[in-house]
């Protein structure tokens, strides 16, 4: 009994944190999960989940997944290249600090301001569109529009690449310059170095960072809302419209079912990440 008491006393130090997380994170998520299976009178029902997996909502999930995969893999690779360029820049302390703080700001940038930035740049009468038209190539005459999925991808890169740079830099610091020198002394070319040394060291963190980007893209709400005004149905925006009251009364719990769906997508993505990492560990042996 005294042992148990002592154990309880030791655990006392984490109680405030535990209570906070329970109230602020776990309870709301439980409310979403339970609400997804309740009708307006609190009775058990599958109808919300059924509605959420059909028609426009199913389409929304699909579009969200496609967009998130595109905007996690592309900026993942580009961000890695930029981070590596920054990391290897010699005597680049000032450059690095300017770039990293800028990345910190851009990674949190989004919403209407970001949408405006790109409307002013590659909107139908934006600066770059005008330049291209003067050069004889009007992008809007060739089927391009900022308000399409392609357009949204280009805009998302603006905060996803900086996010990647921020989160992959610590991993890059684990690459010792001495390893590269050692590899070269043994006759390795650039490809050999990346295949046998750099890649294996980086791959697990790279996959983790891409997963983080996937989550970030999936939950992005403000930017798409401002840019497309709902012409591209994405799950995050559909959930928001339930809170804004833009739907028929009595269907609020469909929003919770959609929320549950998003959590399931993230969970599946994490599962894929774990499997990939296991595979990678095997491949790299």
């Amino acid at each position: 009994m005294p042992k148990l008491l002592r154990g309880l006393r030791r655990a006392a130090g984490v109680v405030p944190f535990g209570v906070y997380v329970t109230l602020g994170l776990f309870a709301p998520m439980a409310a979403v999960a339970i609400g997804a299976f309740e009708d307006n009178n609190g009775n058990f029902t599958f109808s919300n989940v059924k509605a959420a997996t059909h028609g426009i909502y199913l389409h929304g999930f699909w579009q969200s997944i496609v967009l998130s995969v595109l905007t996690s893999v592309i900026p993942g690779i580009l961000g890695l290249m930029i981070a590596y360029a920054l990391y290897t820049a010699k005597r680049g302390r000032v450059l690095r600090q300017v770039a990293i703080t800028a990345a910190g700001v851009f990674a949190n940038f989004g919403g209407v301001p970001l949408a405006f930035l790109f409307i002013a740049t590659i909107g139908s009468s934006g600066l770059v569109s005008q330049w291209l038209t003067t050069l004889g190539f009007d992008p809007y005459a060739h089927g391009f529009t900022l308000y399409s999925l392609t357009g949204v991808v280009i805009v998302y890169l603006y905060f996803q690449i900086p996010l990647m740079v921020l989160v992959i830099l610590p991993a890059l610091e684990g690459l010792r310059p001495a390893w590269r020198e050692a590899a070269e002394n043994l006759g390795a070319r650039t490809w050999d170095y990346w295949r046998h040394v750099g890649g294996p060291v980086l791959l697990p963190s790279f996959l983790g960072c891409v997963l983080l980007l996937f989550g970030s893209a999936l939950s992005a709400y403000a930017t798409t809302e401002a840019l497309t005004n709902g012409t591209i149905p994405l799950t995050a925006i559909q959930i928001g419209s339930f809170l804004n009251g833009n739907v028929i009364a009595g269907q609020e719990n469909i929003g919770k079912a959609l929320g549950l769906g998003m959590v399931v997508i993230i969970a599946v993505a994490m599962l894929i990440y774990v499997v990939l990492q296991r595979r990678a560990a095997k491949w790299l042996r």
Partner: protein, 282 residues
């Protein structure tokens, strides 16, 4: 190494440093950085031209500007305080007394990154009692949750770079209590770690839109959105201004932090790395 030997065809000398000069030359690096710079600066320039210089003058006098900015700054301060008061003692305690819980803590604190804020706010609005929902405290309380992943990781990295056990034992053998140890011994050693936790938290709060707009509070980002429908140019000017001011703020903090850290034998401070040289890569 066997694989390398096989790749070189016999009789022909293996070409060292093939075609693309990816190393030894700085060309590719400058190409990458140049393209990135153009991609990130061109939209800013285009927006600047769209807004016009005149719009910057009228930002401050726009209705709602002061109140929304004040709300955002207040939220940033409250969030930062709660985050530090909650996360610092917890992380230190777990490092010292309950190291087995470290993985669990890591797992819990990563959750807010993967759970979409739009889903979280749905749940929060469903269960929060009315008296909290009525005040902006609701936002501050939830922003603490959103800031947790960054705050925890920064503090954790800072603690790993310390010989925490020794300094805490030294402190208590000199008669210091828990609070005194935390305040006078651990805290000064964690200055840079806390700095980066604060920076990330502030940047997050000042930029958060989803939760604030869905919970119907007019923070600065929400004001920009609402205002953009009536005066687009002023909104663009305001957001450019906010972007620039935040960036200068972050830059100043990291530069001061680096100077501090150099003095005490640490290294360059960036937003995510605060560990000392000898502890990384092991």
């Amino acid at each position: 190494m066997a694989a390398i030997a096989q790749e070189a065809p016999e009789g022909i000398a293996p070409p060292r440093r093939q075609g693309i000069v990816f190393r030894g030359s700085t060309v590719w690096r400058w190409v990458v950085l140049l393209v990135a710079t153009v991609y990130f600066l061109l939209p800013l320039w285009a927006a600047l031209r769209f807004a016009g210089i005149g719009a910057f003058g009228s930002v401050v006098s726009e209705s709602g500007f002061t109140s929304s900015l004040a709300l955002s700054v207040r939220l940033a301060v409250i969030t930062t305080l709660i985050t530090i008061v909650l996360m610092l003692p917890t992380t230190v305690y777990v490092h010292l007394r309950l190291p087995k819980l470290r993985r669990l803590l890591e797992g819990i604190t990563i959750l807010p990154v993967v759970i979409p804020p739009v889903v979280l706010i749905v749940g929060v609005l469903a269960i929060a009692p009315g008296f909290i929902k009525a005040t902006s405290l609701l936002l501050a309380l939830e922003y603490v949750i959103l800031a947790m992943p960054f705050a925890y990781r920064a503090i954790d990295a800072g603690l790993r770079a310390l010989d925490l056990k020794t300094i805490v034992e030294a402190s208590s053998s000199l008669g210091a209590g828990w609070v005194s140890t935390l305040w006078r011994v651990v805290l000064p050693n964690l200055r840079t770690a806390l700095l980066s936790a604060v920076v990330l938290t502030v940047a997050l709060v000042l930029g958060e839109f989803t939760m604030a707009s869905l919970a119907l509070f007019e923070t600065f980002p929400v004001w920009i959105y609402v205002n953009s429908q009536t005066s687009g140019q002023v909104s663009v000017a305001a957001s450019l201004l906010a972007l620039f001011v935040t960036w200068l703020f972050l830059l100043a903090i990291t530069m001061v932090g680096t100077r501090q850290s150099r003095k005490t034998g640490g290294r360059e401070v960036t937003l995510f790395t605060v560990a000392r040289q000898e502890t990384r890569g092991d």
